[in-house]
């Protein structure tokens, strides 16, 4: 690496450390790097086209649309209804409300691509309910934090969509590939919560079961969410919409359903749209910055240099993968998942594919490590969201997530050792 490249990467790290917004830091460092290696005319040329072309993308319209779908489902009370039904059916098991939270989060994940949105919604619903029945805050806040991460894996996943766009991997295959790992993780959480409640009954007192009539009645309000999920899947498989258009279609039917069945106000819809615009702007600022920095990486051939360097070392590909996975897990402890994706995938993806790893499988592995990063200290975004919504101190939430992290690592190991867990389902689909 030349001094210019090292200096630019150092500048980027410095700007990130001093708290500059990640998108701005990527853009500024990229511009300084390009100035150093080529001069102002190239910078002007890149800035003429890169910001515009980062936003002007039909494929990327899936990002705001899937965010909107989740926001509308939450604003319309669909999330609350799913949790209530899960509560009625599963509440009487050991750690039943915790299990209900996980199941409701898994269903919520099927309409939401954002784990923090999922964790925020579930914090408001599940934690007060668990407190009412004497569950400990460590137990309940830990469960809500980890269950929220399911949204990052179970389709639609914003991270997998962005990975697909960054690496030109088939997005439909990536989304389908997330199903088995997502369900496997949810099942792991259920077992783990059950065992935790069984070995430490004081954290989750057993509550009496609800009458059958009440349980059946609770199912009446589950159908809207299921209708959205089935409607979107059917629309994709029958060819009514492409995976890119599915978010808009899903948002539209969610809006129609919540307007028909709930007392949603215009202000709630406006608020959902507004939150979507903010999240979209936040994501695209990172995309624009990453695009500028990407030009710098391409111009200086850093990626090719790294691939050649690792190739020349004749290392075992398993060892290289292990290092990459550890690198992502450690990075996930300190950085935002989107930033990690945009900063590192341009480097690690060519390396992984040059070693013969499947692009779809690699995307799911990266997403899994991002999932872990959401609940590990010191920067576990979901933990902060749950803490701020519920008032449970951050360290107590981390204590709760710590008990459930083992599941994450076990599932990660399973996905690495048995790639067919990821690749089997996409291979059955005709894309």
């Amino acid at each position: 690496m030349t001094p210019e490249v090292l200096g630019t990467i150092g500048l980027l790290l410095l700007l990130l450390a001093i708290g500059m917004p990640i998108g701005f830091a990527l853009g500024c460092a990229g511009i300084v790097g390009l100035l150093l290696v080529s001069g102002f005319p190239l910078v002007k040329g890149i800035l003429l086209t890169a910001p515009y072309s980062s936003a002007a993308s039909f494929v990327l319209s899936a990002v705001p649309m899937f965010i909107l779908m989740a926001e509308l489902a939450s604003a319309g009370g669909m999330t609350r209804d799913i949790f209530n039904a899960a509560h009625k059916w599963l509440g009487s098991f050991k750690g039943g409300l915790g299990i209900a939270t996980i199941m409701a989060s898994a269903v919520m994940a099927a309409v939401s691509g954002s784990s923090t949105a999922s964790a925020a919604a579930m914090s408001k619903l599940a934690i007060p309910e668990m407190r009412k029945y004497g569950y400990s805050d460590v137990f309940s806040a830990g469960i809500v934090s980890v269950a929220g991460t399911l949204a990052i894996m179970i389709p639609p996943s914003i991270i997998l969509i962005l990975y697909g766009i960054l690496t030109e991997t088939n997005i439909a295959q990536l989304l389908i590939a997330g199903i088995v790992p997502g369900l496997l993780t949810a099942a792991g959480y259920v077992v783990s919560v059950y065992l935790w409640a069984k070995t430490s009954p004081e954290v989750a007192p057993v509550i009496s079961s609800f009458p059958l009539k009440e349980r059946i009645t609770s199912l009446r309000r589950v159908w809207p969410m299921l209708l959205v999920i089935v409607g979107v899947l059917l629309a994709i498989y029958t060819g009514v919409v492409t995976p890119t258009e599915a978010g808009a279609f899903g948002s539209f039917i969610t809006l129609v359903i919540v307007m028909l069945i709930s007392s949603i106000k215009l202000a709630d819809i406006e608020a959902a749209l507004s939150r979507t615009a903010v999240t979209t702007g936040m994501i695209f600022t990172v995309i624009i910055g990453a695009m500028i920095f990407g030009y710098f990486l391409t111009y200086t051939r850093v990626t090719q240099g790294l691939v050649s360097f690792v190739g020349s070392m004749n290392l075992d590909r398993g060892l290289v993968l292990l290092v990459i996975v550890l690198f992502y897990v450690v990075l996930g402890m300190f950085m935002d998942q989107l930033a990690i994706l945009f900063l590192t995938v341009p480097l690690t993806f060519p390396l992984a594919t040059s070693l013969g790893f499947d692009p779809v499988w690699f995307g799911v592995i990266i997403t899994k490590t991002a999932e872990i990063g959401l609940v590990t200290p010191p920067v576990g975004m979901n933990v902060y969201v749950v803490s701020s919504v519920t008032g449970v101190p951050v360290e107590r939430v981390f204590r709760g997530t710590g008990r459930l992290l083992l599941v994450e690592f076990v599932v990660l190991m399973l996905l690495i050792v048995f790639p067919s867990l990821v690749l089997w389902l996409p291979s059955r689909m005709n894309f």
Binding site: I18, I22, C28, L48, P51, V240, E245, A248, L273
Partner: protein
């Protein structure tokens, strides 16, 4: 000891007047920014309707909405993204790392705030400048995109100079009004500190 009695109100100092003026400009600017942000929100709603209408029309009626793809890609997406960035700056919601700031002394935080404002300001200024040239070129040459519908290029590009220009003004106002604002959005302990 400072008196808490019925003292006559202090006359505003010239600096105080200046600060009041900046505050009023900021208030006006907030409204303008919110107006453009509303356009961004409307863009998202229109996108949802257009994409759904196009796909349903294409499948069930064999009649897609003409130019829906171009409308979403070249207009609504660009508008939605660029008109929201400045508002996100205002509410301090851009994604950033905040773990190290608590270790920085106050004076260093002030320097960092300048760095965190001036660097992006320079970047957005160049983007705004370049995008303005491109948009004006499209306007002067009456450029259109060839397709099912002849879309004017100017209305696709104009959101970039508009959005990045809004960010530039936002950053400038922040620099003038709250130079002591720490990077993680904490409130200033003392107005005017760091000037």
């Amino acid at each position: 000891m400072r008196s808490r009695g019925l003292a006559a109100p202090a006359r505003p100092t010239p600096m105080g007047k200046g600060r009041t003026r900046v505050k009023s400009i900021k208030l006006l600017y907030d409204r303008l920014e919110s107006l453009f942000y509303r356009l961004s929100v409307i863009g998202i709603f229109v996108m949802m309707v257009v994409v759904t209408g196009d796909s349903v029309g294409r499948y069930f009626l064999r009649s897609p909405i003409k130019g829906a793809f171009e409308l979403v890609q070249n207009y609504l997406m660009v508008m939605t993204v660029f008109l929201s960035i400045s508002y996100i700056c205002r509410i301090n919601a851009h994604i950033r790392l905040e773990m190290f700031q608590k270790f920085f002394p106050r004076q260093l935080k002030i320097v960092i705030t300048y760095v965190n404002t001036l660097f992006p300001l320079a970047m957005f200024f160049i983007i705004c400048h370049q995008a303005t040239i491109r948009a004006l070129e499209a306007w002067n040459n009456k450029e259109v995109m060839i397709g099912v519908v002849s879309w004017p290029v100017f209305w696709s590009y104009v959101w970039v100079p508009l959005g990045t220009g809004l960010v530039c003004v936002r950053l400038l106002l922040d620099l003038i009004d709250r130079p002591c604002r720490p990077t993680n959005g904490e409130k200033c302990e003392k107005e005017g500190q760091g000037r």
